[in-house]
């Protein structure tokens, strides 16, 4: 098979602590250097927390896994300083085509909302994503990335966890105040802690192939329901960078995964799909079975689960990595405040509360897509086909077609950290919602609102005169004030934050709204900071 990508091999190094045999206590140890563990390391570094990242391997994600990254994770990576190479290398697509049986049912244009720094989504091979993050981690002094370090066992008391680690030089122990378990869907950490992980396994298999196209093919997303070349199943064609295309084939439950993977079986299938005159070469083929499940809670004592170790979704709608990155967004600042003694352990329970809520939303969305793509009963098959037939001629049926929905963040509308609105506001940007971006100018230079929010608490002040920074229990919120600190040339900040009549937003370090008022009131802001940090 062809290779458009050279897998880097990262060096193993024996750590000083293993060499000396001295037992060291670290504030945060991260298990796993996949996309979520690497994001966690960058997030902690941004918060000023030193971390050790352990990975049992020494390279990036092998083969075809995540492709599609949505706006919110890109915004988070932008806050952490790693989004630009991703966006540069990634592919953006606008036009999607939906085929049913032998013909095109309809096509659509995404037309994303303007006035956001990050695109609605990009397509990029997971190994590039990880490579860019590894590069950034290596630049960060606070991150100690250790390859060929495998977690063997873990034990904990109320204050610390003790980890037993195996390296090529043998076994040693280390201690951690907090452990972030990012060791993927088959998480060893979860098994070691007897973590409850339940949900639904789909009785279906998918063949995932990456091919390199030799001739021009439009940068569009093509989805087939019940195509003639692959009866009763579905297929997806999606562009990645380097002229590599992702192709997903639903195989059904009876298919033999080993047989299906063989090039002599894959190539004829691809030829029927792409046409005889299309020239391509296989880069990678694998067969997956998908599940939708999550842990009952994401905090087990001193161990916090994030990413696939905590929740696993089917890949329709591209949610796995996207949602895992948002776990870390939620977790970083909470860990920091707890380590500094400014917030009790309850704040870390709010991590579980908010992210379990988001995981359920993701699970629901990906289960719905899966049910549409692979109907589970005769009558749901009839409705599915009826929708697709109607969609050919009638616009109304098109929004019912579900070949995977774009992953969007789940607002924490019910969160115990929110302060309820007492003034009247339009519905957008309610407490618990992630902040919308908007173009701004600072001293005449163009910038973006989100680049000036986050990392720590902030007060976003729109059309309100009285305002100053506020401190509560050691947690400070500085102001970002329209007119004084930035201008709103297109009026989009005012519009997106319903600020025409004056608005004061308390923004969490993860760029989510904690509270908002029409007028500046220091006492209320203090109470809201205390609530958002679980300070009593």
């Amino acid at each position: 098979m062809l290779n458009t990508y050279d897998y880097p091999e990262f060096d193993y190094q024996q750590s000083a602590e293993q060499q000396s045999g001295e037992l060291k206590r670290h504030p945060v140890v991260i298990i796993g250097a996949g996309p979520i563990g690497l994001t966690a390391a960058l997030e902690c570094a941004a918060q000023g927390i030193p971390t050790v990242v352990l990975d049992d391997n020494n390279t990036v994600s092998i083969g075809s896994r995540a492709v599609c990254y949505a706006k919110r994770p890109l915004e988070i990576w932008d806050r952490l300083g790693v989004a630009s190479p991703m966006v540069e290398k990634g592919i953006s697509w606008q036009v999607g085509k939906v085929f049913f049986k032998e013909k095109l049912a309809y096509q659509f244009d995404l037309l994303p909302e303007q006035g956001h720094k990050m695109p609605a989504m990009i397509n990029l091979q997971q190994y590039y994503l990880e490579e860019y993050m590894v590069n950034e981690c290596e630049r960060q002094e606070l991150i100690d990335l250790r390859w060929k370090h495998k977690l063997l066992s873990i034990s904990q008391n109320d204050d610390i966890a003790t980890l037993v680690i195996e390296t090529p030089d043998g076994v040693f122990n280390m201690e951690a105040q907090w452990v972030i378990a990012c060791d993927g869907a088959n998480s060893d950490t979860r098994k070691m802690l007897d973590g409850d992980f339940s949900g639904q396994f789909f009785q279906d298999r998918f063949l995932i192939a990456d091919v390199v196209m030799k001739n021009d093919f439009p940068t569009e997303r093509w989805f087939w329901f019940d195509p003639v070349f692959h009866k009763n199943q579905s297929a997806l064609l999606h562009k990645q960078s380097d002229d590599v295309w992702r192709i997903d084939f639903q195989l059904g439950w009876d298919a033999d995964p080993e047989e299906a993977k063989k090039p002599e079986n894959v190539i004829p299938l691809l030829k029927q799909m792409l046409g005889d005159d299309c020239e391509f070469e296989l880069e990678w083929v694998s067969v997956y079975q998908f599940a939708c499940r999550r842990m009952d809670k994401f905090r087990y004592g001193r161990v916090l689960f994030a990413g696939d170790s905590a929740h696993q979704v089917s890949p329709f709608g591209a949610r796995g990595a996207n949602t895992g990155v948002q776990d870390i967004d939620n977790l970083g600042w909470k860990l920091k405040l707890n380590l500094q003694g400014k917030a009790p352990i309850e704040l870390l329970d709010s991590y579980s509360e908010e992210r379990v809520f988001a995981a359920d939303d993701n699970l629901m969305n990906s289960t719905r897509s899966t049910d549409f793509i692979t109907p589970k009963s005769k009558s749901s098959r009839v409705f599915r086909d009826a929708v697709l037939q109607l969609a050919e001629k009638h616009e109304f049926a098109r929004p019912l077609v579900n070949s995977g929905r774009l992953s969007t963040p789940t607002p924490y509308l019910q969160s115990s950290l929110n302060t309820e609105d007492e003034d009247s506001f339009s519905n957008c940007m309610a407490p618990g919602t992630n902040c919308a971006d908007a173009p701004i100018t600072i001293s005449g230079h163009s910038s973006w609102l989100l680049n000036h929010l986050g990392g720590q608490f902030k007060l976003l002040i729109i059309n309100e005169d009285a305002a100053h920074s506020v401190e509560q229990g050691g947690v400070k919120a500085d102001t970002l004030k329209l007119g004084a600190d930035f201008e709103d040339p297109e009026g989009l900040v005012s519009q997106r934050y319903d600020g025409d009549q004056g608005a004061v937003y308390l923004i969490r370090p993860d760029q989510h709204v904690a509270a908002r008022w029409r007028k500046f009131d220091e006492a209320k802001i203090k109470a809201a900071i205390a609530k958002a940090c679980c300070q009593h």
């Binding site: 009558s379 009839v382 409705f383 086909d385 009826a386 929708v387 037939q389 109607l390 109304f396 049926a397 019912l400």
Partner: protein, 61 residues
């Protein structure tokens, strides 16, 4: 709005006859497909989720 449960069809016999007639020569599969499309078309016409859910509840065996 609530689901209309008072008679709203001006010529009930005409409507009913038309529905039955249309399906007279269809196979079981075609009937199922037609019914599904009909539900989708009419549901979209009604639009309101509350009304649609109320009707689904009433229709449920």
């Amino acid at each position: 709005m609530r689901l209309q449960l008072q008679s709203n069809i001006t010529k009930p016999d005409n409507f009913y006859n038309h529905l039955i007639d249309m399906q007279r020569d269809l196979s079981e599969e075609e009937v199922q497909m037609m019914n599904a499309k009909l539900i989708l078309l009419l549901s979209n016409h009604i639009g309101e989720e509350e009304v649609l859910f109320e009707a689904m509840d009433l229709a449920k065996p």
